[in-house]
Amino acid sequence: MVANSKRQPVSAPKKGFGAFLQRVKESRTAWTYIAPAGILMFFITLIPQFYQIWMSFTDYRVKNLRFVIFNPATWEKYAPPFVGLDNFIKILTNSLSLENYNFWRLLLFNLVWTVVNVSFHVALGVAIALALNTPKLIGKKIYRALFVLPWAIPGYITALTWRNMYDDRFGAFNQLLALFNQWFGTHFATDTRWMTVAQPPIGGPLAFLPLAFYCILLANIWLGWPFMTVVATGALQSISADLYEAASMDGADGWRRLWYITLSLIRPAMVPAIMLGSIWTFNSFAPIYFISQGGPFGQTEILVTQAYKLVYNQRLYGVGAAFSLVVFFILLGITLIQNRVTRATEAYDV
């Protein structure tokens, strides 16, 4: 999963023109291997992406769908007008005629959503992997098999299931609370409208997070930790038992062993998984779109669900394209920063 660019070619480098010729020859072989994937992606992924970049500078709407670049007859009538950076300016200055639209609130919410989710995924994922790694654990195989279920079930099926569990009248959560009241004589409300309550459960600086946020968060934590457990398990299995013995002899107690051996040795495996997990969570469309649908009042909307609504509901293709590009640059920035931070600490490793 991670690029290993440190490895150098085995054959000794030649110098001068001969080296250049050999490099050209090797390049030709290499590109032959890449060609099938390259050609497919060029046509199916790359051209539409370039088209999307071009669209982001135009006021592309429904009628412009008739514009076919291969057919000059459609050029004059259906070509979308070029508007320069207009779409981007509208997006960033909140000048889109959309209800509850505020780009900076969306971005803040999206970042909070990602950081909180990934933290829970990693903490829970590693904790469960450590528990599963206990020697002589009873039922280890059964646990391992059960714990991939949230990951193995197709995402939108789980998302729709969770949405229905949060139903105010028939959902599993209100029914569970009712059952609880019956058993223990408590008086929890059993008609909570989980997705539409506007009053934030925690006030102060966290008042921008509605109850729906915590509900989707719970669903997405349920969805996300098994991946981290799988990665952490793989890394834990590669740690040699000798290290722990040596540490015990040196008098290191359980917590020190956990911190200095276990966690520092699984870190190289967790870092790329965290980066991948961050990208996935940042763009986690299904949980938001199917569970809260961005509500209440757009407070749980993230950037990709907003982009999707711009394209499929509003039919503002040009603005939607610009939105995708903005999301791309934000993700690129986050990835570069993460890369920088993790590389910077790498130097201190033994």
Binding site: S27, W31, M55, V148, L149, P150, P154, Q175, G234
Partner: protein, 298 residues
């Protein structure tokens, strides 16, 4: 406390923790199972009961055997409606096709990135990662126009299952190449060097040494690309036209009506659609762990 007592206490605490985790993992799953078994096919269950009164497999029976009345080529003719079997055939074709294309093309490209030092290598790698991050929400229009240009007899590539398959495969390739390259990097070069001395060509080394040694990563790639072909429905709704080409994921989505959902049928179909993926996960579980992490752990 003796060592043994400590071990037992440890075991008990960990078992309690893991049982709690198990309960939370199983709760939504058991809930959907109980919906599927509910004979009343109501919108939502009225009380929290794992086994609903009069539980039956009627919903599974309906989903598997009755025609899908919303997906018919000719609305007046029931025999033109899609059945579970025909939807399954389309889904299998698309999902298997997607994974075969993704794993073959992905492995070939990943081999080049892992084993050759060539002109444009760095740029190529960066390009693939960038594609992982570019949201594709507005590319669907361009893809629609593009695939409509390629004619296959009387119809265009856009409305056919192979067209859909190529679109999915292309979408999964960046991850496939990235993951396979990471794994290939960990396969020792000495084996290939030895084969080279014995006179094997690059292609022979690739097929006879690299691929057999990389089974875990290949399994992960097959699984992930199969999953994306198996569950995707949004692009399929946009591109396909004839109901006879529709897939299971599309049929499941069409059940989520605007006003009402045949909830037991929906739950039963969700379970049927999840089963092959879950079985695949279980069978390949050992591979998945090493296939995903070998690139970063020695």
């Amino acid at each position: 406390m003796s060592r043994k007592q400590k071990d037992i206490l440890n075991q008990i605490l960990i078992q309690i923790f893991l049982l709690l985790v198990t309960a939370s993992v199983l709760f939504p799953i058991l809930w959907i199972v109980s919906l599927a078994l509910d004979p009343r096919n109501i919108d939502k269950p009225l009380e929290l009961r794992l086994i609903p009164p009069g539980a039956s497999f009627a919903a599974f029976h309906r989903v598997l055997l009755e025609p899908f009345k919303l997906l018919c080529s000719d609305p007046s003719d029931v025999t033109s409606c899609m059945t579970f079997g025909r939807l399954l055939g389309n889904s299998l074709l698309v999902a298997l096709g997607t994974s075969v294309v993704a794993v073959l093309l992905g492995a070939s490209a990943a081999y080049a990135f892992s084993r050759f030092r060539f002109i444009g290598r760095e740029a190529g790698m960066v390009g693939f990662i960038a594609l992982l991050m570019l949201p594709a929400s507005a590319t669907v229009g361009a893809l629609y126009v593009l695939l409509s240009q390629i004619k296959l007899g009387a119809e265009t590539l856009r409305t056919t299952l192979p067209g859909l398959m190529l679109a999915y495969a292309s979408g999964t390739l960046p991850f496939a190449i990235w993951n396979l390259k990471g794994y290939f990097d960990t396969v020792p070069r000495e084996l290939e060097e030895a084969a080279k001395i014995d006179g094997a060509s690059a292609t022979q080394t690739f097929f006879q040494i690299m691929l057999p040694l990389s089974l875990p990563a290949l399994a992960v790639t097959v699984l992930f690309s199969f999953m994306s072909g198996w569950t995707e429905f949004a692009l399929a709704w946009t591109l396909l036209e004839a109901p006879s080409r529709f897939t299971l994921a599309m049929a499941l989505r069409s059940m989520q009506g605007q006003f009402s959902t045949p909830w037991s049928d929906f739950a039963a179909m969700s379970i049927l659609m999840s089963l092959p993926i879950i079985i695949f996960f279980f069978l390949a579980q050992r591979y998945i762990v090493s296939g995903l992490t070998a690139g970063s752990v020695k």
